[in-house]
Amino acid sequence: MNLLELVKNIESELIEIRRHLHRNPELSYEEYETAKFIQDKLRSYGIPFKSGIAGTGILGIIKGKDEGGVVALRADMDALPIQEENDHDFISKKKNIMHACGHDAHMAMLLGAGKILNQLRDRLQGTVLLVFQPAEEKRPSAAPNRCWRLACSGKSSRMLSTDSMSGPIFPPVNSGFAIVR
């Protein structure tokens, strides 16, 4: 199996998801339609999930065949109070609300990764959590903490070995390049 090929197969779906979310942005803690869209996608991929975490947050759970560690991948869900001025054909339908921080892309990539990881779950040596977190843009909110506590309730001893990764967007770097420090 070649991973890049697997992903290539769903590339048009990734773009479609990102554009749908871009057209329909929602502000912090009001990500209702966004949450519903994500749940519908997870359902269609056959990925079990919990909803209503820290408000509109969602936790997808992919259990591998083998026991092992837990890794969480996170995407943020909210848009910003900005009037979009782009002229592409998937411009925001909402006045003064725009995905101007790449969260539309974060969610698309996390859904795509979830879809593929779920297909590979026979080879997974542990559990993958898909954390869709509300209200990243909101001035200090408890959303991340609540997301995390709920995600890991009942797993206290395992939590320490858990790791979280995020893939936000940073414009000045070429597509596909990753920056880690």
Partner: protein, 197 residues
Amino acid sequence: MPHKTNDPIVTAAYLITNLQTIVARSVDPLEAAVVTIGKIEGGSARNIIGNQVTLEGTVRTYQPRIKEKVKERLFAIANHTAEMYGNTVEVEYYDGYPATINTPEWAKLARSTAQKLFGEEATPDVDPVLAAEDFSRFLEEIPGAFIWLGTRLQDAEKQRGLHDPRFDINETALAKGTAFFVQLALDTLKELRKSKT
């Protein structure tokens, strides 16, 4: 009559200017700090002197002790500037997120995953930046890494920054980011298993 008022708009203007001295004169130039007023609201018409102005902004630092210093100066400058012009000020300050600092072990793994997928040159070095991000709240509880994915547009002229009304991404990054997420999850689970045995 204008001379019988304590014009809050003039006071706000001085206050914004005075706040600029925090970074310029109260913070060691070798330390990182940003003080921004991003929103100003006040007044109702050109010939009416309003009675209130609301300013909103953000403070960003790398070191907690610098944050305390900035906070202390912000309160002092706000109170004294208002007093100077016969006005009063109310400061609401919310302590934000700590700086997002990756767990070295997992940052290293993420870097090697990216290089495996996209080549040696795919992980350029950068200096720390003062973008605010609440992922630090996750990192307070559990080890992990926060990764930036490059999304530069083909047409450099059109590239805008985050939070710009014309911000857009290069959609070729979506497939790459997805592959990266998948490989990262696989590599992390493998590493966790290795460290257990």
